[in-house]
Symmetry: C2
Subunit: 128 residues, 2 copies
DNA sequence: TGACAATGTATCAATGAGTGATACTATATG
DNA sequence: CATATAGTATCACTCATTGATACATTGTCA
């Protein structure tokens, strides 16, 4: 449900943030849902709980979750206020996709394979 | 033609590798083309030339370019031998795309917008 | 041919982000 | 009220990234 890669160059806390944002984006997590305690999630992932705490703090700053001592952490919003201007956001996303597609081409995937791959994911994401 | 972000968590040499791979994948750079000297590209990007040298070395290990002292660096292949097993490669690419799509959804893009965005890029990438 | 310029390579040092260990504070619950 | 559970704060360590410097190889031109 939430996996990380210790080998990846992207920091673990960033991976956790991205993963949870994705779960929220897909509706797997919605307003009111509780997140696991930092120590438990850390144990599940095999990392230090401070790293999870940091991820929770960043998600808190984004206004997606709310943490309180002793009470735990809950999702408070399923829609995030875009941080940058839409045009910038679009460029950022296009750039990420472009990178992935270039990888796919170098790896020998065909355009149809890629398109169907994307289609399946789009349907899954925007389904509800 | 090749831009990097010092603020990004992903290392500069990785960004350079990704950028050049992308230029090769798109055909902007093809077999026989010369890459700028490490010192020049480093100056253009405002970074240390060792960082560029490291990127060149990694691309050399991938079999995409060839460097020689005094002579410079040239592109020797437009197709890369996949390093990992196809299944892993596929999972990696799918995961990258999934992240980008989740971002897109959180940013408020519609499925159609995303699909057309991808379509345009796929056509551009696989055009030749 | 010889001197010099241009290019990539090797090695080591410094910096800093990420991660982890530890102690602390607040809330819930019996 | 006592204890367990949860998040927070602070500090130290490690390691990758980056940069500085010196070196080796090839090209060029007088």
């Amino acid at each position: 449900m939430l996996s990380i890669s210790l080998a990846s160059p992207v920091p673990i806390h960033d991976q956790i943030v991205a993963g949870l944002r994705r779960l929220i984006a897909t509706g797997t997590l919605t307003e009111g849902d509780e997140l696991p305690p930092v120590r438990q999630l850390a144990a599940d992932l095999g990392i230090n709980f401070n790293t999870v705490a940091r991820a929770y703090r960043e998600l808190t700053d984004m206004g997606l979750i709310l943490s309180a001592r002793g009470r735990g952490t809950v999702v408070i919003s399923a829609t995030e206020r875009p941080s940058g201007r839409p045009a910038e956001e679009r460029r950022r996303i296009e750039s990420t996709i472009a990178g992935a597609l270039a990888d796919a081409r170098l790896a020998g995937f065909s355009p149809d394979e890629v398109r169907s791959m994307v289609d399946r994911q789009v349907q899954a994401l925007w389904k509800p």
